[in-house]
Amino acid sequence: MLRAGLSKHGKKAVSLHKTGPQVAQELLACIGCNECLLACPALDEAITIDVLNRETYSGPISTPVAHFARSCFQCGACVAPCPVGLSREAMMMWLKVRLLRSGWEKS
């Protein structure tokens, strides 16, 4: 019997998922201080936080943001620096799912 939150090896599994309303709420609470992007080891594009936030939740995804979403490997380096306690990695997960659904990966 697996206990919730524990994998079969007994290690604490980290859930990357947050619900849509939660992600939307966190995006609204983002103060735009850029600390998460400064900490990111995978960021290779000139992305500003306002564009990333707008495109994470809805609307078309621009090429730099799509590239960034693909290079993000969910290391979690963005979570600790956040002064407001938001989980950027859950937002990135959301962005990735949207990217997959939009069929961007195929083209």
Binding site: K12, V14, A29, I31, C33, N34, D50, S87
Partner: protein, 637 residues
Amino acid sequence: MTELVAKNVDSADLVIIGNGIAGLTAAVEARRQAPDRRVVIITEQSHPTINTPALKQFAIGKLNREQLLAYPAGTEQAQFIHVINARAEEIHAQDRYITLKGGRGFGYSELLIATGSAPTGLPPTLPGRDFDGVLTLHRLYDYLDLRRRLGEVEEAVVIGGGAHAIETVMSLLYWGIRVHWLIRGDTFLPRMLDRPASEMVLDSIERAGAQVYTETEALGIVGRVGMVAGVVTNHQQLLPCQLVLVCTGTTAVTSLARHCDLKMKHKQGILVDEHLRTSVPHIYAAGDVAAIKDPQTGLYAPRAQWYAAVSQGRMAASLMTGSSPTEELGIPWHATRLGSLSMLTVGNVLQWQDTITTLTDSSRNSYRRMAVIDDQLVGYLSLGPSQPDSLAIKRIIEEGLSIRDIKKSLLKGTFDARSYFSRRRTYSAQRMVTTGKLPVADELEKRMQAIRNRAALPQAGRQEEQLYGTRALPGTDPLLKADFFERTTDEDLQLFADPFVTAPIDLERARGQRDNAAANANKLAERGLTSEGVRQVKTSHIIESTLVKAPQTPRTGRSPSGSLWSYSSPLPAVKVNSVETPGPPAGNGVSEIGQRGRKSQFKTPASSREKSKQRPPDVYPSSSLWAYSEKKRMKGH
């Protein structure tokens, strides 16, 4: 609607005054919900909306100006939001138009006031406040000015005891500037943090290299040929500096409420109901300018935080376009970084009576304090190197979820919100399958709903005045808080134990108390309260897990270790579960935990505390000498 307005006057369906984040969010959201309305923003500000909390990162050069934009450049044009650069001066609510500077009129159907706040600054009588180099940090231009000046500054004085002051101190330290930080009170953020938390913050700032002066005020600013040369404190000390940064808080810009032909209730902000309506029809207020009721306490106060402004902007947009808002304003929530520490306060942690259980924990280099009724959380304070899942905790309080299973992890700061909420979903799904019933809203949520219904305004036609007429609106000034501790009858206590039932506050009585401050202080002392109206730690209501009781020593006048005793005496090694702290001596309401006395202006950074034991007693002929000797030591350090 617009037929009320004269033909020759410009008008718009939705007029928003101010292009801060509340104003622009409202405009964008209104556009989304009502694509055919005319949306106009009237603002004095000549730059687009920026992420104001990110100005601290801008101050230390981590960001450039373009990265400050809150919305991608050109959003206003793309969304057909017309921006007028002008100052709105008067509201003619009966005829539904405002006058701009120069006498031009502008009609509205619905008006949103989002004028934000202005820095309070130094008292107007303070000598030397006009010297060059005395800055308030509030707007983008202030930070541009600061960045230009940084090159020629070696020492700076920061005045003020809030989160903004700490961020300023840290920015200056980042640039290698020696910082003197003057705090008027003896603790930091006294209304949000308790004493151990305040001590922790101040210690971390001292460790970062700043000189902290508690219970110190600037009496005057000394200049040399027009430039700042130093600050004179109330301890007859001269702190030499080239820059004085004033972070004494902000005040809501309520000038429009004063210049309105109908009475718009305002005090420390424009009073609004839970749907952001002011006391004047068709006028809303959002952002720093709006004083909102705290659903837990019933007190009105502005919530000058980013997230609050964003959610208020969205709510105002929904209401102005005629749709019903999907979110609630909820309880106060503040998450920020204080130097190396992350601070989170949700709900009310300190303001409760002792009918509420308080849990504190100070393990893992951090500090947490929880206010709990039965198994429901009503307030949470966390201070530590990392931020917990702050919005999840807000949700737990607002939904009144039981914390029976997570009490320990919340207290120890190991709470995993995601697994908790995913388990909850699983449980409710299971319950739906096994019982065949839809999940019922929690009782507390229902209770909050009841409050909201009771306070809801009568339907259109009977105006907001009715609400404000029949219910006494409690004031927003902190002195009225004393009323909390004046509830003596059992009925009152019972009422108060229920956080979401607001009792009407007797304004007259509260005012009387304020006027009669001395008598009140005595009364409070008799009840075992400190003069600030903070109830003293009482037996069995505070359960501490690791905080050990500081030994009681007689407080003698200027003994050498007077301010350091709590650190130099060996602490008892026992951890206690329930601390019995005796009440303070009558008439002297001083907490015994970490007293930061007047002498603590000479408090040394933590690492050099050992050295300071051998320090000669604080009986120097001139206290100002200390500043210099201190400085030398700091250099070597």
